[in-house]
């Protein structure tokens, strides 16, 4: 079976800075894939290229067997790419349920249907009790969950999670991990950018490590964390030699 998502030789330059160079990755259907790497590795750039925030300087992006390189974000969402933002972007003056309805409208044009779908998603993500609260009144962990809920309401095939588990307390992070598993169990493929290795590694089926804009290593999480190249990228030469 073909991969759900593929980037082929993707480059992104910002003036003289090369954020991604020749990145080719693929994500299979039903997988949870972690995209990790030290600060400035180009994770967020790659993530934005996949979500369609900007087109790559060079290379192509394929989703569900089609070239989507030049499609804008809204169209990619309609095709089945859902995303969250690292810095949460709730619709602050709207209630939680209204936030989610915006997402649900992609596949439900009748308001009643969209509303029902939104309630379903709030149940699923554990936000049902907060449905009528203004998004601006949510605590940070709830805002993260709202990001996920909104994206899920678009009924994506691929869910892109940008550091949804970062900055949470251990308990909150565990709830988050459980939610990501639950999402995958409904048949949605997940690609997540994450910083906190110890939380992501047990969760993902496969990890892709980026460093200096390139794919450094790719493989099972247990292998990746032992790879000398990865240790070097994160901790520097001395530690790599020790390993």
């Amino acid at each position: 079976m073909t991969a759900l998502l593929e980037t082929r030789g993707v480059w992104q330059r910002f003036g003289g800075l090369v954020a991604n160079s020749d990145v080719s990755i693929s994500v299979g259907r039903g997988e949870i894939v972690g995209l990790i790497g030290p600060n400035g590795a180009g994770k967020s750039t790659l993530f934005n290229l996949i979500a369609g925030v900007l087109p790559p300087t060079q290379g192509s992006i394929w989703f569900d067997g089609k070239d989507v390189t030049n499609l804008p974000a809204a169209v990619r969402c309609q095709r089945g790419v859902g995303r969250t933002f690292q810095v949460v972007k709730s619709f602050e003056t709207m209630t939680v349920i209204d936030n989610v309805i915006v997402g649900a409208l992609v596949r439900n044009t009748v308001m009643r249907e969209a509303r029902r779908k939104a309630h379903e998603v709030l149940e699923f993500t554990g936000l049902a009790a907060r449905a009528d609260v203004l998004a601006s009144d949510l605590v940070p962990a709830e805002k993260r969950r709202l990001e996920v809920a909104r994206a899920l309401a678009t009924e994506p095939k691929l869910l892109l999670l940008d550091e949804v588990l970062t900055g949470l307390t251990p308990t909150e992070a565990q709830t988050g991990v459980a939610l990501v598993r639950k999402v995958r169990d409904t048949g949605i493929t997940v690609l997540m950018v994450e910083h906190v290795m110890e939380i992501v590694m047990p969760l993902v089926d496969r990890a892709i490590v980026l460093d200096l804009g390139k794919v450094l290593v790719e493989g099972k999480p247990t292998e990746v964390v032992r790879d000398p190249k990865v240790i070097k990228a994160y901790l520097g030469d001395r530690h790599a030699v020790g390993a």
């Binding site: 979500a51 925030v53 804008p72 974000a73 809204a74 969402c77 309609q78 859902g82 995303r83 933002f85 972007k89 709730s90 619709f91 602050e92 003056t93 709207m94 209630t95 349920i97 209204d98 309805i101 915006v102 997402g103 409208l105 992609v106 044009t109 308001m111 969209a114 509303r115 309630h119 449905a131 009528d132 609260v133 203004l134 009144d137 909104r150 994206a151 309401a153 678009t154």
Partner: protein, 327 residues
């Protein structure tokens, strides 16, 4: 929850129907022509502000150039009537359509601008429109157009003896603008607009084509405002560029919504009901000696509102409820 939501929408509709009925009965008790005149203007500005609110309040694209669409409605109607004998009713619709098309044509380049830059563009464009009409000989230039008197009739939408027909038309227009807003509030467009206002990037990631949403809001908003312009032209029976396209109209559309509550269903009506009578009364009682006292009064009012109640007067009614919801 959904029951509450549906109940609230129904309650809004019932309140609106009752207010409209009350307003419709008002002329039975108010015989004074001067007061009737103020009532007509209040209803008209409520309708205009409600229409302005669609683009600027719900969709968040603050326009201070809506006088352009107001003037286009007025001029289209009167040019068609005086030059081609087209009845004002058709002129009104034509004006609305032209205004909507122009709003989208202008939106194409200007919706790329954000925040203050967009506002500045709207002011400049409306000013250019004003200058064009001041110099357009065929359209009467600065002299304007006097609407020929053809006797009182609904067909020609012209009444010299009584203000009541205008009053009922203004009331109908106000109801229409309110109802359109009410209907849009619980439609996909309404949701898209609020999402675009709050966070365009997030909206885009959820499948909302931000640019098209803004275009839709601009078209609806301009159409309704132009209908108002056509009405105003018939009401005055004389138009010139300054009296239908002046900057003050842009302000008088924005201020009621800001005062009452921008981006809310009831804000524009509430704001107009307070602001317009106040403006007219201060103008006639103290405006004669020192011009601009009325402007000082409502300038001060806006400052007071933005300091004390930045969400507008309607927040006085919803504050307790919002608190209850968070608990």
């Amino acid at each position: 929850m959904d029951k509450n939501f549906a109940a609230r929408r129904r309650r809004d509709l019932v309140i609106a129907a009752m207010l409209a009925a009350l307003a419709a009965l008002a002329p039975l008790f108010v015989k004074n022509v001067y007061i009737q005149n103020i009532m007509v203007l209040t209803l008209m500005y409520a309708a205009l502000s409600q229409s302005w609110n669609i683009l600027s309040g719900y969709c968040g694209q603050i326009s201070l150039g809506h006088a352009l669409y107001f003037g286009i409605g007025a001029y289209t109607t009167e040019l068609l009537f005086t030059k081609f004998g087209v009845l004002p009713w058709f002129g009104m619709l034509a004006g609305g359509a032209i205004a909507a098309v122009i709003a989208m044509g202008l939106g194409y380049p200007f919706f790329r601008l954000r925040g203050h830059y967009f506002v500045i563009a709207t002011i400049v464009i409306a000013e250019i429109g004003l200058l064009l009409f001041q110099n357009w000989e065929w359209a009467g230039a600065a002299m304007g157009i006097t609407i020929p008197v053809r006797g009182d009739s609904w067909l020609k939408f012209q009444f010299m003896r009584s203000k009541l027909p205008y009053f009922y038309f203004a009331l109908a227009l106000c109801c229409l603008a309110w109802f359109v807003t009410w209907w849009l509030e619980d439609s996909k467009w309404g949701f898209w607009w609020r999402a675009v206002k709050d966070n365009p990037e997030a909206a885009e990631s959820l499948g909302v084509v931000v640019f098209n949403s803004k275009m839709g809001a601009a078209a609806v908003s301009a159409f309704l405002v132009a209908i108002g312009g056509a009405f105003y032209a018939q009401f005055l029976a004389y138009i010139d560029p300054e009296s239908v396209m002046g900057f003050q109209f842009s302000l008088l559309m924005a201020l009621p919504a800001v005062l009452g509550g921008i981006g809310t269903l009831w804000g524009p009506v509430l704001g107009a009901a307070i602001l317009i009578p106040m403006t007219e009364l201060t103008r006639s009682y103290i405006g004669g000696s020192g011009r601009g006292v009325d402007l000082i009064v409502y300038g001060g009012l806006i400052v007071a509102i933005s300091l004390a109640l930045p969400q507008g007067l309607v927040s006085l009614f919803s504050r307790s409820k919002a608190k209850g919801a968070t608990r």
